[in-house]
Protein backbone atom coordinates (compact mmCIF):
# COMPACT_ATOMS: atom_id res chain seq x y z
CA UNK A 1 0.00 0.00 0.00
CA UNK A 2 1.35 3.38 -0.99
CA UNK A 3 1.78 6.02 1.67
CA UNK A 4 0.44 8.59 -0.77
CA UNK A 5 -1.34 7.57 -3.95
CA UNK A 6 -2.29 10.35 -6.32
CA UNK A 7 -4.65 8.88 -8.86
CA UNK A 8 -5.42 10.85 -12.01
CA UNK A 9 -5.75 14.20 -10.27
CA UNK A 10 -6.97 17.19 -12.24
CA UNK A 11 -7.52 20.61 -10.78
CA UNK A 12 -9.33 23.28 -12.72
CA UNK A 13 -9.60 26.96 -11.99
CA UNK A 14 -12.54 27.68 -14.21
CA UNK A 15 -11.53 26.21 -17.56
CA UNK A 16 -7.84 26.47 -16.79
CA UNK A 17 -6.23 23.20 -15.72
CA UNK A 18 -3.71 23.86 -12.94
CA UNK A 19 -3.02 20.14 -12.61
CA UNK A 20 -3.33 17.74 -15.51
CA UNK A 21 -3.86 14.08 -14.73
CA UNK A 22 -1.21 13.83 -12.07
CA UNK A 23 -0.31 10.25 -11.17
CA UNK A 24 2.18 9.68 -8.41
CA UNK A 25 2.78 7.00 -5.87
CA UNK A 26 4.90 7.57 -2.82
CA UNK A 27 5.92 4.44 -0.98
CA UNK A 28 6.23 4.34 2.82
CA UNK A 29 9.61 5.45 4.04
CA UNK A 30 10.56 7.44 0.99
CA UNK A 31 11.22 11.13 0.98
CA UNK A 32 10.09 13.03 -2.08
CA UNK A 33 11.16 16.47 -3.17
CA UNK A 34 8.44 18.05 -5.30
CA UNK A 35 10.23 20.46 -7.59
CA UNK A 36 9.05 23.03 -10.08
CA UNK A 37 8.95 26.70 -10.88
CA UNK A 38 6.59 29.13 -9.22
CA UNK A 39 3.10 28.57 -10.61
CA UNK A 40 3.90 25.08 -11.86
CA UNK A 41 1.35 23.59 -9.47
CA UNK A 42 3.47 22.44 -6.51
CA UNK A 43 1.41 24.18 -3.87
CA UNK A 44 -1.86 23.22 -5.54
CA UNK A 45 -0.82 19.58 -5.58
CA UNK A 46 0.44 19.63 -2.02
CA UNK A 47 -2.78 21.24 -0.77
CA UNK A 48 -4.75 18.51 -2.51
CA UNK A 49 -2.57 15.82 -0.94
CA UNK A 50 -3.12 17.46 2.46
CA UNK A 51 -6.88 17.52 1.90
CA UNK A 52 -7.05 21.31 2.06
CA UNK A 53 -8.39 21.44 -1.47
CA UNK A 54 -10.45 18.98 -3.48
CA UNK A 55 -9.32 17.71 -6.87
CA UNK A 56 -11.72 18.42 -9.74
CA UNK A 57 -11.19 14.84 -10.89
CA UNK A 58 -9.30 11.87 -9.52
CA UNK A 59 -8.46 11.20 -5.92
CA UNK A 60 -5.75 11.08 -3.31
CA UNK A 61 -5.34 8.13 -0.98
CA UNK A 62 -3.34 8.29 2.19
CA UNK A 63 -2.37 4.79 3.30
CA UNK A 64 -5.41 3.48 1.49
CA UNK A 65 -8.07 5.88 2.73
CA UNK A 66 -9.41 9.02 1.12
CA UNK A 67 -7.58 12.08 2.36
CA UNK A 68 -10.73 13.82 3.57
CA UNK A 69 -11.42 10.96 5.95
CA UNK A 70 -10.38 11.55 9.53
CA UNK A 71 -8.42 8.37 9.61
CA UNK A 72 -6.16 9.68 6.86
CA UNK A 73 -5.86 13.14 8.32
CA UNK A 74 -4.72 11.80 11.65
CA UNK A 75 -1.69 10.33 9.90
CA UNK A 76 -0.47 13.41 8.10
CA UNK A 77 1.41 16.39 9.45
CA UNK A 78 1.11 19.55 7.38
CA UNK A 79 3.25 22.64 7.32
CA UNK A 80 2.04 25.16 4.75
CA UNK A 81 2.99 28.70 3.86
CA UNK A 82 1.49 30.10 7.04
CA UNK A 83 2.41 28.94 10.51
CA UNK A 84 -1.20 28.08 11.49
CA UNK A 85 -0.79 29.29 15.05
CA UNK A 86 -2.93 31.66 17.07
CA UNK A 87 -1.32 34.94 18.00
CA UNK A 88 -3.39 35.40 21.14
CA UNK A 89 -2.63 31.98 22.58
CA UNK A 90 0.57 30.91 24.27
CA UNK A 91 2.96 28.39 22.72
CA UNK A 92 1.74 25.62 25.01
CA UNK A 93 -1.93 26.50 24.48
CA UNK A 94 -1.48 26.43 20.74
CA UNK A 95 0.04 22.98 20.78
CA UNK A 96 -2.56 21.74 23.25
CA UNK A 97 -5.41 22.84 20.98
CA UNK A 98 -3.96 20.73 18.19
CA UNK A 99 -3.09 17.87 20.52
CA UNK A 100 -6.76 17.72 21.53
CA UNK A 101 -7.96 17.90 17.94
CA UNK A 102 -5.66 14.99 17.08
CA UNK A 103 -7.01 13.09 20.08
CA UNK A 104 -3.66 12.62 21.80
CA UNK A 105 -4.02 10.88 25.17
CA UNK A 106 -2.19 13.53 27.21
CA UNK A 107 -2.31 16.88 25.38
CA UNK A 108 -0.31 18.76 28.00
CA UNK A 109 2.51 16.23 28.07
CA UNK A 110 2.80 16.07 24.27
CA UNK A 111 2.81 19.84 24.04
CA UNK A 112 5.58 20.27 26.61
CA UNK A 113 7.59 17.49 25.08
CA UNK A 114 7.56 19.15 21.68
CA UNK A 115 8.29 22.57 23.11
CA UNK A 116 11.40 21.05 24.58
CA UNK A 117 12.44 19.38 21.35
CA UNK A 118 12.16 22.63 19.43
CA UNK A 119 13.94 24.60 22.13
CA UNK A 120 10.91 26.61 23.18
CA UNK A 121 10.33 25.29 26.70
CA UNK A 122 11.56 28.57 28.18
CA UNK A 123 8.79 30.57 26.45
CA UNK A 124 6.02 28.02 26.71
CA UNK A 125 3.62 30.51 28.35
CA UNK A 126 4.55 33.40 26.10
CA UNK A 127 1.96 34.54 23.56
CA UNK A 128 2.82 33.70 19.96
CA UNK A 129 2.16 37.35 19.10
CA UNK A 130 5.29 38.27 21.05
CA UNK A 131 7.53 35.65 19.44
CA UNK A 132 10.26 36.36 16.95
CA UNK A 133 9.78 35.01 13.45
CA UNK A 134 12.22 32.18 14.04
CA UNK A 135 10.49 31.11 17.23
CA UNK A 136 7.12 31.08 15.49
CA UNK A 137 8.57 28.89 12.77
CA UNK A 138 9.98 26.41 15.23
CA UNK A 139 6.63 26.27 16.98
CA UNK A 140 4.97 25.65 13.63
CA UNK A 141 7.35 22.77 13.04
CA UNK A 142 6.45 21.40 16.48
CA UNK A 143 2.75 21.62 15.57
CA UNK A 144 3.31 19.62 12.39
CA UNK A 145 5.22 16.87 14.24
CA UNK A 146 3.10 16.92 17.39
CA UNK A 147 0.90 13.90 16.71
CA UNK A 148 3.73 11.76 15.37
CA UNK A 149 2.37 11.61 11.82
CA UNK A 150 3.45 8.88 9.45
CA UNK A 151 3.39 11.22 6.50
CA UNK A 152 4.82 14.71 6.53
CA UNK A 153 3.68 17.25 3.94
CA UNK A 154 5.72 20.41 3.81
CA UNK A 155 5.19 23.31 1.42
CA UNK A 156 8.42 25.23 0.82
CA UNK A 157 9.64 24.47 4.33
CA UNK A 158 13.04 26.16 4.02
CA UNK A 159 11.97 29.36 2.31
CA UNK A 160 11.13 31.57 5.24
CA UNK A 161 13.10 29.87 7.99
CA UNK A 162 16.04 31.34 9.87
CA UNK A 163 19.24 29.33 10.48
CA UNK A 164 18.17 27.89 13.79
CA UNK A 165 14.76 26.83 12.50
CA UNK A 166 16.35 25.22 9.43
CA UNK A 167 18.67 23.32 11.74
CA UNK A 168 15.77 22.13 13.93
CA UNK A 169 13.74 21.14 10.90
CA UNK A 170 16.62 19.31 9.18
CA UNK A 171 17.29 17.36 12.34
CA UNK A 172 13.64 16.45 12.81
CA UNK A 173 13.24 15.54 9.16
CA UNK A 174 16.25 13.23 9.09
CA UNK A 175 15.08 11.71 12.37
CA UNK A 176 11.64 11.13 10.89
CA UNK A 177 13.17 9.71 7.74
CA UNK A 178 15.34 7.33 9.76
CA UNK A 179 12.25 6.25 11.68
CA UNK A 180 10.61 5.25 8.42
CA UNK A 181 8.24 8.20 8.02
CA UNK A 182 7.21 9.34 4.58
CA UNK A 183 8.07 12.89 3.60
CA UNK A 184 6.71 14.94 0.71
CA UNK A 185 7.97 18.47 0.42
CA UNK A 186 7.60 21.04 -2.29
CA UNK A 187 10.53 23.32 -2.83
CA UNK A 188 12.50 25.11 -5.46
CA UNK A 189 15.61 24.97 -3.31
CA UNK A 190 17.16 21.83 -4.68
CA UNK A 191 20.18 21.92 -2.42
CA UNK A 192 18.40 21.72 0.93
CA UNK A 193 15.80 19.33 -0.38
CA UNK A 194 18.28 16.84 -1.78
CA UNK A 195 19.95 16.36 1.60
CA UNK A 196 17.22 13.96 2.69
CA UNK A 197 15.31 13.29 -0.53
CA UNK A 198 15.27 9.73 -1.80
CA UNK A 199 13.09 10.65 -4.74
CA UNK A 200 12.45 13.62 -6.92
CA UNK A 201 9.34 14.65 -8.84
CA UNK A 202 9.40 17.62 -11.17
CA UNK A 203 6.18 19.43 -11.99
CA UNK A 204 5.98 21.47 -15.13
CA UNK A 205 2.82 23.37 -16.04
CA UNK A 206 0.63 21.11 -13.95
CA UNK A 207 2.12 17.88 -15.22
CA UNK A 208 4.67 15.50 -13.75
CA UNK A 209 7.62 15.99 -16.09
CA UNK A 210 9.94 13.65 -14.23
CA UNK A 211 9.63 11.29 -11.31
CA UNK A 212 12.28 8.94 -10.04
CA UNK A 213 14.98 8.27 -7.55
CA UNK A 214 17.36 10.95 -6.50
CA UNK A 215 20.67 10.53 -8.32
CA UNK A 216 24.10 11.81 -7.58
CA UNK A 217 23.99 13.79 -10.77
CA UNK A 218 21.17 15.94 -9.43
CA UNK A 219 23.12 16.74 -6.31
CA UNK A 220 26.34 17.49 -8.15
CA UNK A 221 24.77 19.69 -10.78
CA UNK A 222 21.62 21.35 -9.44
CA UNK A 223 20.76 22.81 -12.83
CA UNK A 224 20.76 19.47 -14.58
CA UNK A 225 17.23 18.42 -13.73
CA UNK A 226 15.69 21.68 -14.84
CA UNK A 227 17.77 21.81 -18.02
CA UNK A 228 16.79 18.31 -18.97
CA UNK A 229 13.09 18.28 -18.18
CA UNK A 230 11.96 21.89 -18.03
CA UNK A 231 12.50 22.67 -21.70
Amino acid sequence: MSAVAIEGVWKYYGDYPALKKVELRVEPGSSVALLGRNGAGKTTLLRIIAGLSKPSQGQVRILGSDVRQERARRRIGVLGHGISLYDELSAAENLMVFARLYGLPDPRKSALEWLERTGLERVRDGLVREFSRGMKQRLAVARAFLHDPEILLFDEPFTALDDRAIEVLQKLLSGAHAAGKTIVMSTHQLKEALVIATHVALIRRGEIAYAGERTQQMADDTGWLYRTYEA
Partner: protein, 249 residues
Protein backbone atom coordinates in the same frame (compact mmCIF):
# COMPACT_ATOMS: atom_id res chain seq x y z
CA UNK B 1 2.08 10.70 -16.98
CA UNK B 2 2.38 7.91 -14.52
CA UNK B 3 5.20 7.40 -12.13
CA UNK B 4 6.07 5.02 -9.38
CA UNK B 5 8.33 6.07 -6.58
CA UNK B 6 9.61 3.02 -4.85
CA UNK B 7 12.74 2.29 -2.95
CA UNK B 8 13.40 -1.39 -2.88
CA UNK B 9 14.89 -1.46 0.57
CA UNK B 10 12.73 1.26 2.10
CA UNK B 11 9.49 -0.14 0.72
CA UNK B 12 10.23 -3.53 2.17
CA UNK B 13 11.68 -2.48 5.50
CA UNK B 14 9.00 -0.08 6.60
CA UNK B 15 5.88 -1.59 7.99
CA UNK B 16 2.96 0.65 8.83
CA UNK B 17 1.59 -0.43 12.17
CA UNK B 18 -2.16 -0.20 12.54
CA UNK B 19 -2.63 2.47 15.14
CA UNK B 20 -4.96 2.39 18.07
CA UNK B 21 -7.79 4.78 17.30
CA UNK B 22 -7.62 7.72 19.68
CA UNK B 23 -10.82 7.96 21.61
CA UNK B 24 -11.70 11.59 21.47
CA UNK B 25 -15.35 12.26 21.11
CA UNK B 26 -16.63 14.73 18.59
CA UNK B 27 -18.07 16.78 21.44
CA UNK B 28 -14.64 17.16 22.99
CA UNK B 29 -13.26 18.41 19.69
CA UNK B 30 -16.12 20.87 19.24
CA UNK B 31 -15.46 22.12 22.75
CA UNK B 32 -11.75 22.49 21.96
CA UNK B 33 -12.63 24.85 19.12
CA UNK B 34 -15.13 26.79 21.21
CA UNK B 35 -12.69 27.11 24.11
CA UNK B 36 -9.89 28.20 21.80
CA UNK B 37 -12.04 30.92 20.23
CA UNK B 38 -13.33 32.18 23.56
CA UNK B 39 -9.88 32.14 25.10
CA UNK B 40 -8.24 34.12 22.33
CA UNK B 41 -11.16 36.56 22.31
CA UNK B 42 -10.92 37.02 26.08
CA UNK B 43 -7.19 37.76 25.78
CA UNK B 44 -7.86 40.94 23.80
CA UNK B 45 -11.63 41.38 24.14
CA UNK B 46 -11.41 43.33 20.88
CA UNK B 47 -14.66 42.15 19.34
CA UNK B 48 -16.54 41.95 22.63
CA UNK B 49 -15.66 45.46 23.77
CA UNK B 50 -16.36 46.94 20.36
CA UNK B 51 -19.68 45.13 20.17
CA UNK B 52 -20.84 46.21 23.64
CA UNK B 53 -19.75 49.79 23.07
CA UNK B 54 -21.51 49.86 19.72
CA UNK B 55 -24.72 48.47 21.19
CA UNK B 56 -24.71 51.22 23.82
CA UNK B 57 -24.17 53.85 21.14
CA UNK B 58 -27.12 52.55 19.14
CA UNK B 59 -29.29 52.54 22.26
CA UNK B 60 -28.44 56.19 22.87
CA UNK B 61 -29.01 57.12 19.23
CA UNK B 62 -32.49 55.65 19.33
CA UNK B 63 -33.55 58.22 21.89
CA UNK B 64 -33.03 60.95 19.28
CA UNK B 65 -34.91 59.06 16.58
CA UNK B 66 -38.21 59.14 18.47
CA UNK B 67 -39.76 60.23 21.73
CA UNK B 68 -38.94 57.54 24.27
CA UNK B 69 -41.73 58.63 26.59
CA UNK B 70 -44.50 58.29 23.99
CA UNK B 71 -47.04 55.50 24.23
CA UNK B 72 -46.18 54.27 20.76
CA UNK B 73 -42.82 53.18 22.01
CA UNK B 74 -44.34 49.94 23.29
CA UNK B 75 -45.17 48.99 19.72
CA UNK B 76 -41.66 48.82 18.46
CA UNK B 77 -39.50 48.26 21.53
CA UNK B 78 -38.78 44.65 20.50
CA UNK B 79 -37.75 45.79 17.06
CA UNK B 80 -35.23 48.24 18.50
CA UNK B 81 -33.73 45.62 20.73
CA UNK B 82 -33.18 43.22 17.85
CA UNK B 83 -31.68 45.92 15.68
CA UNK B 84 -29.18 46.48 18.46
CA UNK B 85 -28.46 42.75 18.70
CA UNK B 86 -28.03 42.22 15.00
CA UNK B 87 -25.92 45.32 14.33
CA UNK B 88 -23.67 44.92 17.36
CA UNK B 89 -23.52 41.16 16.80
CA UNK B 90 -22.16 41.67 13.29
CA UNK B 91 -18.93 42.93 14.84
CA UNK B 92 -18.48 39.65 16.69
CA UNK B 93 -19.51 37.47 13.76
CA UNK B 94 -17.28 39.33 11.33
CA UNK B 95 -14.24 38.43 13.44
CA UNK B 96 -15.10 34.75 13.69
CA UNK B 97 -13.44 33.32 10.62
CA UNK B 98 -11.33 36.41 10.02
CA UNK B 99 -9.42 35.25 13.09
CA UNK B 100 -8.50 32.10 11.19
CA UNK B 101 -7.01 33.89 8.20
CA UNK B 102 -4.18 35.31 10.27
CA UNK B 103 -1.20 32.94 9.95
CA UNK B 104 -3.34 30.63 7.75
CA UNK B 105 -4.80 29.06 10.87
CA UNK B 106 -7.72 27.69 8.90
CA UNK B 107 -5.36 25.37 7.01
CA UNK B 108 -4.14 23.94 10.30
CA UNK B 109 -7.70 23.26 11.43
CA UNK B 110 -8.81 21.79 8.11
CA UNK B 111 -5.80 19.46 8.06
CA UNK B 112 -6.66 18.22 11.56
CA UNK B 113 -8.96 15.22 11.98
CA UNK B 114 -12.11 17.16 12.75
CA UNK B 115 -15.07 17.35 10.39
CA UNK B 116 -15.82 20.77 8.96
CA UNK B 117 -19.29 20.58 10.50
CA UNK B 118 -17.78 20.13 13.98
CA UNK B 119 -15.43 23.02 13.32
CA UNK B 120 -18.43 25.13 12.35
CA UNK B 121 -20.37 24.15 15.46
CA UNK B 122 -17.40 24.90 17.71
CA UNK B 123 -17.03 28.36 16.27
CA UNK B 124 -20.78 28.96 16.30
CA UNK B 125 -20.98 28.09 20.01
CA UNK B 126 -18.22 30.57 20.78
CA UNK B 127 -20.00 33.28 18.78
CA UNK B 128 -23.27 32.43 20.48
CA UNK B 129 -21.69 32.88 23.91
CA UNK B 130 -20.21 36.24 22.89
CA UNK B 131 -23.51 37.48 21.44
CA UNK B 132 -25.34 36.45 24.60
CA UNK B 133 -22.76 38.35 26.63
CA UNK B 134 -23.45 41.48 24.58
CA UNK B 135 -27.19 41.02 25.05
CA UNK B 136 -26.89 40.47 28.79
CA UNK B 137 -25.31 43.90 29.00
CA UNK B 138 -27.58 45.70 26.56
CA UNK B 139 -30.99 44.43 27.72
CA UNK B 140 -30.79 45.97 31.24
CA UNK B 141 -29.39 49.18 29.79
CA UNK B 142 -32.26 49.24 27.35
CA UNK B 143 -34.73 48.71 30.20
CA UNK B 144 -33.11 51.49 32.19
CA UNK B 145 -32.95 54.06 29.38
CA UNK B 146 -36.44 53.48 28.08
CA UNK B 147 -38.26 52.47 31.24
CA UNK B 148 -39.14 49.04 29.90
CA UNK B 149 -39.95 46.33 32.43
CA UNK B 150 -38.28 43.52 30.59
CA UNK B 151 -38.09 40.97 33.40
CA UNK B 152 -41.86 40.53 33.62
CA UNK B 153 -41.94 37.41 31.48
CA UNK B 154 -38.35 36.45 31.90
CA UNK B 155 -38.60 32.81 30.87
CA UNK B 156 -40.42 33.52 27.61
CA UNK B 157 -38.13 36.43 26.79
CA UNK B 158 -35.08 34.28 27.46
CA UNK B 159 -36.41 31.58 25.15
CA UNK B 160 -37.08 34.05 22.33
CA UNK B 161 -33.68 35.65 22.86
CA UNK B 162 -31.86 32.32 22.76
CA UNK B 163 -33.68 31.14 19.63
CA UNK B 164 -33.24 34.47 17.87
CA UNK B 165 -29.59 34.74 18.83
CA UNK B 166 -28.89 31.25 17.55
CA UNK B 167 -30.48 32.27 14.23
CA UNK B 168 -28.13 35.27 14.00
CA UNK B 169 -25.21 33.07 15.04
CA UNK B 170 -25.78 30.32 12.48
CA UNK B 171 -26.24 32.65 9.52
CA UNK B 172 -23.46 34.96 10.68
CA UNK B 173 -20.92 32.21 11.33
CA UNK B 174 -21.69 30.41 8.09
CA UNK B 175 -21.31 33.52 5.98
CA UNK B 176 -18.24 34.55 7.92
CA UNK B 177 -16.79 31.28 6.61
CA UNK B 178 -18.13 31.81 3.11
CA UNK B 179 -16.68 35.29 2.75
CA UNK B 180 -13.43 34.57 4.57
CA UNK B 181 -11.21 34.61 1.47
CA UNK B 182 -12.93 37.43 -0.39
CA UNK B 183 -11.16 40.69 -0.91
CA UNK B 184 -14.24 42.70 0.07
CA UNK B 185 -15.11 40.58 3.08
CA UNK B 186 -16.21 43.37 5.39
CA UNK B 187 -18.51 44.78 2.72
CA UNK B 188 -19.91 41.47 1.56
CA UNK B 189 -20.84 40.04 4.92
CA UNK B 190 -23.58 42.52 5.92
CA UNK B 191 -25.08 42.69 2.42
CA UNK B 192 -25.45 38.91 2.34
CA UNK B 193 -26.32 38.27 5.95
CA UNK B 194 -29.03 40.80 6.80
CA UNK B 195 -31.50 39.85 4.05
CA UNK B 196 -31.09 36.20 5.03
CA UNK B 197 -31.75 36.95 8.68
CA UNK B 198 -35.04 38.73 7.95
CA UNK B 199 -37.45 35.90 8.76
CA UNK B 200 -35.82 35.24 12.12
CA UNK B 201 -35.53 38.92 12.98
CA UNK B 202 -39.15 39.46 11.96
CA UNK B 203 -40.37 36.76 14.33
CA UNK B 204 -38.04 37.71 17.16
CA UNK B 205 -39.01 41.39 16.92
CA UNK B 206 -42.71 40.68 17.03
CA UNK B 207 -42.46 38.22 19.92
CA UNK B 208 -40.16 40.48 21.92
CA UNK B 209 -42.45 43.46 21.41
CA UNK B 210 -45.39 41.40 22.66
CA UNK B 211 -43.49 40.10 25.66
CA UNK B 212 -42.18 43.53 26.64
CA UNK B 213 -45.71 44.93 26.42
CA UNK B 214 -46.91 42.23 28.78
CA UNK B 215 -48.69 40.09 26.20
CA UNK B 216 -47.92 36.44 26.82
CA UNK B 217 -47.26 33.86 24.13
CA UNK B 218 -50.72 33.15 22.77
CA UNK B 219 -52.44 31.48 19.86
CA UNK B 220 -51.70 34.39 17.57
CA UNK B 221 -48.02 34.96 18.17
CA UNK B 222 -46.97 31.38 18.89
CA UNK B 223 -46.47 31.14 15.15
CA UNK B 224 -43.49 33.39 15.61
CA UNK B 225 -41.96 30.93 18.04
CA UNK B 226 -42.50 28.09 15.60
CA UNK B 227 -41.02 30.18 12.84
CA UNK B 228 -37.93 30.91 14.91
CA UNK B 229 -37.47 27.27 15.84
CA UNK B 230 -38.03 26.22 12.23
CA UNK B 231 -35.59 28.81 10.95
CA UNK B 232 -32.96 27.67 13.45
CA UNK B 233 -33.49 24.06 12.50
CA UNK B 234 -33.43 24.54 8.72
CA UNK B 235 -30.42 26.82 8.62
CA UNK B 236 -28.42 24.87 11.19
CA UNK B 237 -28.99 21.78 9.09
CA UNK B 238 -28.15 23.54 5.81
CA UNK B 239 -25.00 25.02 7.33
CA UNK B 240 -23.79 21.70 8.70
CA UNK B 241 -24.36 20.03 5.34
CA UNK B 242 -22.72 22.75 3.26
CA UNK B 243 -19.86 24.01 5.41
CA UNK B 244 -17.42 21.45 4.02
CA UNK B 245 -18.18 22.64 0.48
CA UNK B 246 -17.57 26.20 1.57
CA UNK B 247 -14.32 25.63 3.45
CA UNK B 248 -12.63 23.00 1.29
CA UNK B 249 -12.74 24.05 -2.35
Amino acid sequence: MSSELRTAEAGAAVRIEPRARPRTSLLAKIWTITAKDLRSEMRTKEALNASIAFSLVILVLFSFAFDPSSDQFQEFSGGLLWLVFSFAGALVLNRSFARETQNDCLDGLLAAPIPAAALFLGKAFANFALLIAVEVVSIPVFGLFYDVHWAGQFGELALVTLLGTWALTVIGTFFSALTVNLRMRELMLPTLVYPLMIPALMAAMKLTTDLLAGTPINAENVFGLKLLAGFDFIFTLLSLVMIDTVLVG
